[in-house]
Symmetry: C2
Subunit: 309 residues, 2 copies
């Protein structure tokens, strides 16, 4: 058998926070994601040889996929190098884990080519090194669902502990990406450093009940748990038409609606594809009047996560 020295992968988009679970919850999409080709080369090190679909830097140390790959190679120190081609379909700055997909993609692919020396949690840790380049802090709430698939809970980062939560089978996501720019750093700066204890209690009741809802496939409870009284009140100001879009999509039957990551994308979770389509139409009708360009994606929850294609 010829040795595998080139691999093509699909690195999916992801939704972080999931309303109540700021900084800890996330889920994985299936119909939106980057493709990457990674091949072994005799020359050591990592080279980004091509980027299509986006104007991102080719320099290894300025590219999240390059930085995470370099961090991985520093540990594994294989007797070869890697060339990476990136085909971006997830727009940088869209709030659905564009940098996480790139950061996860390179380490996942290299790990596959080297015979899987590392497990998924270890890969998450290396991908976080790349993600830090994009957001100035190491976090795993997009990387974890990208690598593990389904719903994930980042229990902690020191030590890194990722929990895989069950995914109810009829769950679909509808995502709208208004093409405005929100920097993650700006979306962080707008948040208060301190919050009322009473709000925190309500939020952790919702996190607990959302995890219970996922375990019991209880769509009504899932709906009742998809609330964010801590972060959304601040960040929604950065997203035109957020309140209108939220109320109209909930009226249309979405289980819950919230900001994807730090925005500007907005996600809705829906029970079944028909409803996800209807919610997409509602999003379309609200946003087409806004004069802002936008994309809409409809996707089942991706239970597998990043994969070889």
């Amino acid at each position: 058998m010829a040795e595998l020295n080139e691999i093509k992968i699909f690195a999916p988009a992801t939704v972080a926070n999931v309303s109540c679970g700021f900084d800890v919850l996330g889920f994985c999409l299936d119909t939106v994601g980057d493709e990457m080709i990674v091949r072994m080369s005799p020359e050591k090190g990592v080279r980004i040889t091509k980027i299509a679909g986006s104007d991102l830097p080719l320099e290894t140390h300025k590219n999240v996929a390059g930085v995470s790959a370099m961090a991985l190679l520093e540990t594994l120190n294989p007797n070869c190098g890697f060339e990476i081609e990136i085909y971006k379909n997830i727009k940088p700055g869209s709030g659905i884990g564009s940098s996480a997909a790139s950061a996860a993609g390179s380490v996942f692919a290299i790990n596959e080519l080297l015979g899987r020396p590392l497990n998924k949690t270890q890969l998450t840790a290396y991908a976080m090194k790349g993600e830090a380049l994009a957001s100035q802090c190491e976090h795993a709430d997009n990387i974890a669902p990208c690598i593990f698939g389904g719903f994930t809970l980042v229990k902690g980062v020191k030590p890194l502990e990722i929990l895989e939560l069950p995914t109810p089978s009829h769950l679909f996501a509808t995502i709208i990406h208004p093409q405005i720019e929100i920097k993650t750093s700006e979306a962080r700066a707008i948040l208060p450093k301190e919050i009322p204890l009473s709000n925190a209690i309500e939020q952790w009741a919702n996190v607990g009940s959302l995890v219970h809802a996922l375990h019991t496939s209880n769509y009504n409870l899932l709906s009742a748990s998809l609330k964010d009284i801590i972060v959304e009140p601040y960040r929604k100001q950065l997203i035109p038409e957020f309140d209108t879009l939220k109320s109209k999509t909930l009226e249309a039957g979405a289980l819950g609606v919230g900001i994807s990551g730090s925005g500007p994308s907005i996600f809705a979770l829906c029970n079944g594809e028909t409803l996800a389509d209807k919610v997409a139409e509602t999003m379309y009708s609200v946003y087409q009047k806004s004069g802002i360009d936008f994309n809409i994606h409809i996707s089942p929850i991706n239970k597998q996560g990043i994969k070889v294609i």
Copy 2:
């Protein structure tokens, strides 16, 4: 068949908060609880005819069991009244749901005698009226586990929504009750109104992972989730020897140790009865040097909750 007109019940003690789940989580004990005899009487209204084991008021409107029973009768308006005898085994002010047991006991028993017109959530709501007499606010974090059994999550109180969480089968609790007085109101007043967002995030990650741990019977994860960085740092100051007791019992193998409700009782959760016994010995050896009187209870988790005996 003769009509049932007298009933004897067991109203168990409970542990509220369970470290990370301040104000929302609770679990039910099996070996500690009050007994109550409730009988129908031709005369309408509620009379507390006997209280043994504690110096609590017999006046209906000053007694939590009386107040919750009256609230229930106001709605149901049956063509009879009720006499209540209370045999207290749970010491008032111990922090293991003494008032909740009394408040839940009377409404549970009356509901049984009337042929169960109300469900458990409705009973919880009436019991909260009695609990409010003791703690100046309506809360359900002791009443819910007393009535439902097992682990419960109070998702919200308006509307009241109680979630029944699974109970891993080998779980035991060891409780020490140092006989000092901590008023619930005092234990509330000591808490900050605002907390750092970063601490809240860590706490809700733990709530989510504790719920996941209960669903998956993952004792290691349960242990890692039983942390309270919000409330315990304040309230532990009210409990002598808390830090020593906690570190020694964790060393002895407890999965987690925390303040039961607003204290002064301290609970430990343990994997198996042998370990629960060992933890009890450790608690004994720490506290016997303190000069403070104390009781220690060992109990499996009570999955049934309040019951007819």
